[in-house]
Amino acid sequence: MNFCRTESLIDTVTHYCPGCGHGIIHRLVAEVLDELGVREKTIATAPVGCAVLFYNYMKCDIIECAHGRSPAVATAIKRLLPENVVFTYQGDGDLAAIGMAETIHAANRGENITVIFVNNAIYGMTGGQMAPTTLLGQMSTTTEAGRGNNQEGPPIKVCELLSMLDGVTYLERVAVNDAKNVIKTKKAIRKGFLNQIEGRGFSMVEVLSMCPTDWKVSPLKAAEFVNIDMKSVFPLGVYKDEDGQ
C-alpha cells in the first residue's frame, strides 16, 4: 500500500495537540473526498471549537459559521447548490449544545447534507469545560467534582436522539481510538458522503475522539478512555440506515 498525501488536505502543520483525534478525522474526510472525486465541488462549514481553523487544512471552499449554526448555513447552501457536496464539521458543544436546534431541524427536514460530528466529551478550545457529551463523573473545569454532582444531567446521546426523527436517513457512531476503528470510521464517512451524492438525505457520522490535553491524560490513556469509558456510554454502531427518497 502506498501511503501518500491527500489532495484534499493542505500540506501544513496543524494547531492540534499531540494525541488529538481531529488530525485523523480530517485525514479520513480528505481521503473520502479524494476517492469520490468531489473535492472541487465540495463546500464545507467550519465550526466554532477546536476545528474552527478547519479552513487552514482542507483544500475546498469553506465557510466558517457562528457557533452551532453550521446546519442552518449548510441547509441554504445545499438547497441553492444541489449539485455540490456540502458537509458540516462540528464538535460536541457546537452540535449538541448551542446548535442543538439547528441540528435537530436540519436532520428532521432531511437536508441532503453530511454532518461529521466529533464527540470528545469536552470543550477543547476554551480549555476543558463540561460538554453536553461529558460523561457522568468526568471532571472538567466547570465540573471539578465530576459531572452529575450539580444537576448537570447525563450526557446527551445524539445518534439515539436523532434516530427518533423520521426525516433522518443515516446515523452511525464510530471511533478513532485504534487502527481498526479508524478504518470503520472511514467507511462510515464514505457512506455519509455517498448518501448525499446519491440524494438520500441527512447523514451524520458521530466520531468518538480523544482530547488528552483537556482530559489531562496521556495520548495512550486518552485512546483507552475512548475505548472503555466512552464506548460504554456511547455504543458504536449504525443507529439509522434508510434508503431515503
Binding site: 482542507m58 471552499d61 469553506i62 441554504a76 447552501i77 441553492l80 447548490l81 436546534a101 435537530i104
Partner: protein
C-alpha cells in the same frame, strides 16, 4: 409579470415580497412573528413560482444563518421579522457584516421592549442604526413611508447590498406592513453597476479554494486591518448614500424631523399648520444610516427650531441633535410602547413649540 407595469392593491408585507422577487431575490428564510407574517406566507407561495428557495426556519437565529449561507453562494437573499425576532438575528447580522455578505433584512417593527405588543413602533432605531450585534459594523438602513416607496427601496436594497457588500435593513413598522395601498409593480432595473461576485462559494473547480470567515486570530491576518477596511467602506457609503426628502422647507421656521410612517403623518400635520399660517416643513431621512447630516445642518442654519416626531421615547432625536450640532433647539414629540400620532396630535405640538 408582464413588462407593462400595473397598479395592484397590496399590503406592505406583500409589497416587499413582490419587490424582492422582481429584483432577483431567490432565497428567503423566515419565522412567524406578527406583524410581518404575510412576508413568509407570501414568500412560501411565490418563491417556488420563480424557481427560488423558501425555508421556514426553526428560529430567527437559524433563519439569519441560512441567509449567511445563501449569500455565500452569491444568491440574492432576504429575511424578515419583527422587533423581538430581529433581536435574535443580531448574532447572525454581525457575522454577515463581518463577512461582507450582501442580504436584505426587513424589520416590521412592533412595540417593545420584551414581547411588547403588536402595534407599530419605532423603538428599534438604535438597534438598527448603531449596530445591534457585537463589534464595529454598520447596516445600511432604509425607512420607507409609503408602499410605492417600500417597493422601490426594497428593489434598491438588493443593489446597495451587492454594490457595497453589506447587509441592508428595511426599517418599517406595523402600519407599513399591514396597510394596503395601490402600488405600481415596476420592472426591476439596477440603480448601480453591479460588481462581479468573485468571492462566492460554489466549489473550487478551476480555481483556488475560497474561504468566507469572520475570525482573524493572527497578526498576519490582523483584525485591525479588517476593521480598518470596513471603516473605509462605511465612510465611502456615508459619502455616497444620503437619501432624504424635504417637504415645504423653503421658508420654514420649524423643521419637523421624522422618518417612515411618522413622517407621512407629519406631512398631514404640516398642511394643517400651514393653513393656520405657520411656516413648518419636513426633513425626512430615507436612509437612517447613513443619515443626511448635511441636510440637517443646512436647515439648522435658516430654521429657528426642530421638532422630532417618532414612535419611541426618544432615539432618533439623539442623531438629530448630533446632525444639527445642537445649533438650534430640538423639541420632541413621541411615546414608546406601540403608539402612533394623529396629524392633530402633531399639530397640537407644533402650535405649542412654534410660538415659544
Amino acid at each position: 409579470m408582464s413588462k407593462v407595469s400595473k397598479k395592484v392593491l397590496l399590503k406592505g408585507n406583500e409589497v416587499m415580497v413582490e419587490a424582492a422577487l422582481s429584483a432577483g431575490c431567490r432565497f428567503f428564510a423566515g419565522y412567524p412573528i406578527t406583524p410581518q407574517n404575510e412576508v413568509p406566507e407570501c414568500m412560501s407561495r411565490r418563491m417556488p413560482e420563480v424557481g427560488g428557495v423558501f425555508v421556514q426556519a426553526e428560529s430567527e437565529v437559524a433563519a439569519i444563518n441560512m441567509i449567511f449561507g445563501a449569500s455565500a453562494t452569491g444568491t440574492r437573499c432576504m429575511t424578515s421579522s419583527s422587533s423581538p425576532g430581529i433581536s435574535l438575528k443580531q448574532e447572525g447580522i454581525s457575522y454577515i457584516a463581518a463577512g461582507e455578505l450582501p442580504c436584505v433584512i426587513a424589520n416590521v417593527q412592533r412595540g417593545g421592549p420584551g414581547l411588547g405588543n403588536i402595534r407599530a413602533s419605532q423603538g428599534d432605531y438604535f438597534q438598527a442604526v448603531k449596530g445591534g450585534g457585537h463589534g464595529d459594523y454598520k447596516l445600511i438602513v432604509l425607512a420607507p413611508s409609503t408602499l410605492p416607496e417600500l417597493y422601490e427601496l426594497t428593489q434598491n436594497a438588493f443593489d446597495y447590498s451587492d454594490y457595497y457588500r453589506n447587509p441592508v435593513m428595511i426599517l418599517g413598522d406595523g402600519i407599513l406592513g399591514q396597510m394596503a395601498e395601490p402600488v405600481e409593480l415596476k420592472e426591476y432595473k439596477p440603480i448601480v453597476t453591479l460588481p462581479e461576485k468573485d468571492w462566492i462559494l460554489d466549489g473550487c473547480e478551476g480555481r483556488d479554494p475560497r474561504v468566507i470567515k469572520t475570525l482573524y486570530l493572527y497578526p498576519s491576518d490582523s483584525l485591525a486591518v479588517h476593521n480598518a477596511h470596513l471603516k473605509k467602506k462605511y465612510e465611502q457609503i456615508a459619502s455616497e448614500l444620503e437619501l432624504f426628502e424635504e417637504y415645504k422647507t423653503e421658508d420654514c421656521e420649524l423643521v419637523i424631523a421624522a422618518y417612515g410612517m411618522t413622517a407621512r403623518i407629519a406631512k398631514a400635520a404640516i398642511r394643517l399648520a400651514r393653513d393656520k399660517g405657520m411656516k413648518v416643513g419636513l426633513l425626512r431621512p430615507i436612509s437612517l444610516w447613513p443619515l443626511a447630516n448635511s441636510a440637517f445642518m443646512r436647515l439648522a442654519e435658516t430654521a429657528k427650531k426642530f421638532l422630532v416626531v417618532e414612535m419611541s421615547n426618544g432615539q432618533f432625536i439623539e442623531d438629530v441633535r448630533l446632525a444639527t450640532e445642537c445649533s438650534v433647539p430640538v423639541e420632541f414629540f413621541g411615546y414608546g410602547g406601540g403608539w402612533y400620532p394623529t396629524p392633530e396630535n402633531i399639530l397640537e405640538r407644533i402650535e405649542k413649540v412654534y410660538t415659544l
